[in-house]
């Protein structure tokens, strides 16, 4: 029973209030990290490895060569091996091309579960797991707050508007999990040391039987205008009043806008 977790490397979120980068030798800024929402997918996969539901966890990423760092970090959390698909023809690939490449790589790896995190809120990013499932003709179990694998079947716990359901499908499946899986583990020191020795393969498009032309075509949509949000009137503030006075002022404000 094998899981492949698809992860993405992204630039670290900028400027924390950390004044201590003087301790580091010469790093000119952008450190790359695992997309935070993917960490939940990694955590879910590792829990299934810990409890014996699956026997191996492989990480898959598509990106520039530097994306291997994200894969090493994932391996430091746990898991067995990683695959990086990298090719100069993939520079600037859009989400459809990404789905195409991931689908081909997953077909080659043939896992029982191909697992992703909730992608970014952006439409195109969030549609990648479903697009991959469609391309591979494999059932999709998405937006799970928990994933279980047993008896040739996978199921996810999905919150509905008011409750939850367990949605199931026979293996193999494509699944995605949300941050409700629970806190991702920290990489332990031994994990970090072991990660250096775990296998990390690099594949090109040719290894997947794809050519640049299969993916070309560029973006299907384009931005035609960008404007600053309508200048909102400055925030009105209420402070230094007693609770009763503040409440009266808030009520006045609501009434003026016909909200009460």
């Amino acid at each position: 029973m094998k899981i492949v977790v698809c992860i993405k490397q992204v630039p670290a979120t900028g400027a924390d209030k950390r004044y201590t980068d003087d301790l580091r030798l010469d790093r000119n800024g952008v450190e790359a990290i695992i997309n935070p929402l993917d960490e939940y997918a990694i955590e879910q996969a590792l829990r299934l490895l810990d409890d014996g539901s699956v026997e191996s966890v492989t990480y898959l990423s598509m990106g520039p060569e530097q994306a291997a760092e994200a894969l090493r970090r994932a391996l430091a959390m746990g898991g067995d091996e990683a695959v990086l698909v990298t090719d100069s023809a993939l520079a600037g690939a859009d989400e459809w091309a990404t789905a195409r490449v991931l689908a081909a790589a997953l077909d080659k790896l043939a896992p029982d579960v191909a697992l992703t995190g909730m992608a970014s809120d952006d439409a195109r990013g969030s549609l990648v797991p479903g697009a991959v499932a469609a391309m591979r003709n494999v059932p999709l179990l998405s937006y799970g707050s928990e994933l279980k694998v047993a008896d040739g079947e996978a199921r996810v716990r999905r919150l509905s508007a008011t409750g939850f359901d367990w949605i199931a499908a026979p293996l193999p499946v494509v699944a995605s999990v949300t941050d409700q899986v629970g806190e991702p583990r920290y990489a332990s020191l031994k994990g970090i040391m072991a990660a250096k020795r775990k296998p990390l393969e690099t594949w090109s498009l040719a290894d997947l039987g794809l050519a640049g032309e299969d993916l070309a075509g560029g973006a299907l949509t384009h931005v035609t205008d960008a404007r600053a949000q309508e200048a909102k009137p400055p925030t009105e503030r209420i402070e230094n009043l007693s609770a009763v006075e503040a409440a009266a002022k808030i009520a006045d404000w609501l009434a003026a806008r016909k909200l009460i």
């Binding site: 549609l127 479903g130 998405s142 367990w166 026979p170 941050d179 973006a219 409440a247 808030i250 009520a251």
Partner: protein
């Protein structure tokens, strides 16, 4: 037809979801602009029973993809076939997990352009145009499909972007999609169903939301917020911090990984306003924030920022509202 506007309509036990009514109205609006027809793609238990009623909300035709209670994704193959045959200009899908699932399969199978989640959509000179706020919310981008790409464009639409009409007298023509070939998506089933107690409100449909964050301090702390929500006829929501701490169920979490809401009034108490939460509520019409910290980020984008102790101000506000409404 080339200028038709499709929309997804989800049904449960014969009742259309609010998103179905909103998108019907939206599709009708766009169809007037494009000179085409608004066509619903209905799925879910009891869809066949009530599909025609979508006509009262703007649809001229409805195609039933399936009217069993299988998960939405099981209807994806029928959706693909119907969309391929329809040759329309755009397809509106709700920006919910089910809507995204179906949209994803359409995009992946038919290599369609995708937009959203959008806060506005229209057809201008026969071309689809959408508006989307960026993560930071400070920039609004307008997008269109590149010339010559496949159609329809798939558009994810946020709740409360379109307003359902009062319901006219129209009745839509209903037809069934052809039974599709066996596909992997048909193998997805609901293994167990756990509806929650009826008290949990679907935040996406609420017009007034009172939300609590870390500052509420615990499960009991939500009591005053519930009272305020009740006084305003609204629902209670929360930030991720409160959900992670177990103070309220995850269904009430508003934010990037939770619900995206668009109420006319949002009151955030003890919420700092981190970007991940903001994304979930920034399109609310009126934002009021109550926080002890005068520098809380939420103060920068709220319409009204009240600095003070929420445990004193919220009950006082509840009392004042009740007093004014004569209760």
């Amino acid at each position: 037809m080339a200028n038709d506007i499709l929309f997804l309509a989800e049904f449960t036990a014969g009742t259309p979801a609010r998103s179905a009514l909103e998108l019907a109205a939206g599709a009708a609006e766009l169809a007037i602009q494009s000179g085409g027809a608004a066509i619903g793609l209905a799925y879910g238990s009891g869809a066949a029973d009530d599909a025609a009623s979508l006509g009262a909300h703007g649809a001229s035709r409805v195609i039933i993809l399936g009217d069993d209670d299988r998960p939405a994704i099981a209807h994806a193959p029928a959706a693909v076939a119907a969309v391929r045959d329809a040759g329309a200009l755009a397809l509106l899908a709700p920006a919910t997990p089910n809507g995204r699932d179906l949209a994803a399969v359409l995009v992946g199978s038919l290599h369609l352009p995708a937009f959203g989640p959008v806060r506005a959509a229209r057809v201008v000179d026969g071309v689809l145009e959408t508006e989307q706020a960026t993560l930071q919310g400070s920039v609004v981008t307008t997008s269109r499909p590149v010339e010559g790409v496949a159609t329809p464009s798939v558009v994810l639409v946020l709740a409360n972007t379109f307003t359902p009409g009062e319901g006219g007298t129209g009745s839509a023509d209903v037809s069934r999609a052809p039974i599709g070939t066996e596909s992997a998506f048909g193998k997805v089933t609901v293994a167990e169903s756990h509806p929650a107690d009826a008290k949990v409100v679907n935040l996406e449909e609420a017009t007034v939301i009172v939300a609590g964050g870390r500052g509420v301090g615990g499960e009991e702390g939500f009591g005053p917020l519930r009272d305020l929500a009740a006084a305003l006829g609204g629902a209670v929501g929360a930030s991720r911090a409160a959900a992670d701490a177990g103070w309220i169920p995850y269904q009430l979490q508003i934010g990037q990984t939770g619900k995206v809401v668009k109420p006319s009034l949002y009151i955030g108490a003890g919420i700092s306003g981190a970007i991940q939460h903001r994304v979930g509520m920034q399109t609310a019409e009126h934002v009021v924030a109550i926080n002890r910290d005068p520098d809380a980020p939420i103060g920068e984008f709220a319409d009204l920022f009240v600095v003070g102790d929420l445990f004193k101000i919220v009950p006082a506000l509840t009392d004042e509202i009740r007093r004014r409404s004569g209760a």
